[in-house]
């Protein structure tokens, strides 16, 4: 009836209702959240426990673990430095390759490429990210190493070497960085770009000094994921970096001539070592077995620290729009 408020016909009832659908969905979502938290907690507990078992044995000491320059389980020497050093070397080399190239690709895709070109390139990049890492491993061994040998001399570059593995790790994580960064850049509102262009900024100035800083949290997230990926990458280093720790007699030997930094020599990373020794007939309850968990725990700590640093950087430099 026109002119009559609908309340007149519909009785008022504001009592709380039970909405079955809502509750079920909420429960499911909470469950999903709980699963991820519990998995993480479970992993940490296992790691900490087994690492603890390792250090409770008589031979390895905390001090040796952190200050020793030799990792040789056969003679019960457990200095983490050779493995840690190799991991950091390959990761740093990888990031040095991946960060600039990945960022440039991301900026190109979001600020320069036509929509059509972007439509072609983005899926290609994503396919690249899906190639099994073992393929990258043999790419390092069969292509990158010979290339490095040609460039720097056959005798300088060993057949297994850190540089080759590191560079290929970089190539492997380029799609990750560029894809995530491109998402972050594209999410920056058009209005900000127009503001910059409207005051006479060039494309480059707009991209690098307005869009990039505005997308910095997303990019930092991409970099962290990529770094964790580089630190944790296993297959490439297992195949191409070397099958034994680059041990040193003492710190003098390690640092003399910056031996520990030589990228053209073989070295085994933490992850590479773990797969190698756990690949054979490693039996439960041996010291080798326990040592794996000490290494893994340290890996976990490294990624944790990376995350904390990045959170801090993001908070420090975030430009909120």
């Amino acid at each position: 009836m026109p002119g009559q408020p609908s309340g007149a016909r519909r009785p008022l009832d504001l009592r709380k209702r039970t909405r079955a659908g809502e509750s079920i969905i909420q429960l499911l979502l909470k469950g999903a959240g709980a699963v991820s938290v519990l998995t993480t907690v479970g992993i940490v507990v296992v790691l900490v426990y087994d690492a603890f078992v390792f250090f409770r044995r008589p031979e390895p000491t905390f001090l040796e673990f952190f200050t020793g320059t030799t990792w040789q389980p056969q003679i019960l020497r457990f200095g983490i430095f050779p493995l840690l050093n190799a991991t950091l070397l390959t990761s740093v080399i990888g990031m040095t390759v991946a960060l600039p190239i990945g960022l440039m690709i991301a900026i190109f895709l979001s600020e320069y490429a036509s929509p059509r070109l972007r439509g072609i390139l983005k899926p290609v990049l994503e396919v690249l990210a899906g190639i099994p890492t073992v393929v990258y491993g043999f790419f390092a061994l069969g292509f990158m190493t010979p290339l490095l040998k040609n460039l720097f001399g056959k005798d300088t570059v060993e057949i297994f070497n850190v540089a080759s593995a590191g560079i290929v790790i970089g190539i492997l994580i380029i799609p990750l960085i560029s894809s995530m960064s491109e998402d972050a850049l594209s999410a920056v509102p058009r209005a900000l770009r127009e503001a910059a262009y409207g005051m006479g900024a060039t494309r480059l100035e707009t991209a690098v000094r307005v869009v990039l800083p505005a997308a910095i949290s997303g990019i930092a997230a991409a970099v962290i994921v990529a770094m964790s990926r580089a630190v944790g990458e296993t297959m490439v280093v297992a195949i191409a970096a070397g099958a034994g720790p680059r041990n040193f007699g003492d710190w003098g030997q390690a640092t003399g001539g910056l031996n520990f930094l030589n990228p053209f020599k073989a070295a085994e990373t933490m992850t590479g070592h773990i797969v190698r020794i756990s690949g054979g007939d490693l039996s439960y309850d041996t010291i080798d077995y326990d040592s794996i968990f000490a290494i893994a725990f340290l890996l976990f700590i490294i990624t944790l620290i990376l995350n904390i640093i990045s959170q801090w950087i993001v908070r420090r430099f975030r430009e909120e729009y």
Binding site: A195, G198, M199, G200, A201, T202, A214, E320, Y321
Partner: protein, 271 residues
Amino acid sequence: MSISLSVSSSASVQSQQARIAVESRNLRVWYGKFMAVRDIHLQVEECKITALIGPSGCGKSTVLRAFNRMNDLVPVARTEGEILFQGKNIYDPDVDAVEVRRRVGMVFQKPNPFPKSIYENIAWGARINGFKGNMDQLVEESLRGAALWDEVKDKLKQSGYSLSGGQQQRLCIARTIAVKPDIILMDEPCSALDPIATLRIEELMRELVNQYTIIIVTHNMQQAARVADYTAFFMVDDTRTGYLVEYGKSDQIFMRPKDKRTEDYITGRFG
């Protein structure tokens, strides 16, 4: 590449007393196959406010953005005709769009400060324009010019986004004048603001017009009547292409429109 700054001495300019800041001739803008506006002839007088009015979708923003080549940023957009800025067609192949935008600044409908500090918002544009002088002084000058200084002088380090909408819009005006353009384009600069903030911007425009040529798009008829010296009325034809119906002094357009369509529009009789 930079456009010639020599003042034009074309006959049309000298025949009139007033000086022309910018002029469109036969302007047509296409979005793909769709002609958004056609045959726009518009002479914009220096140090005056010119308002572009008309129904939604008639191409006011398109015309406005043609004046500093902002349409270049739209991949499908194509411009025909000429826009003469100090005698030089800014669509000539040898003209650099970036240089054009340094001389013809723009303020947008929604305030869009950079996600940087208030100070940086202003310093940024000046810096990319190669400003080498005293930045503190320029920031203060620009903020004073935009009637914002007193409100923000104690919090220059805070984010531009900590300001109210009206303050943000004045910040955007401040950063535009920091670049010292000749012309300021404003696309419905008050549509996101309340009446008091709107009034402040209008007062500000009246002050700025002593130094700058201002072209403003507005849906607010009263606003056009209040602030604009000249008003251009646009409409669309049946293919939705916009065209210029009538252009003249604001009092004439609003008091004695020559065209029946203008009269219908300003008296709100349009269906």
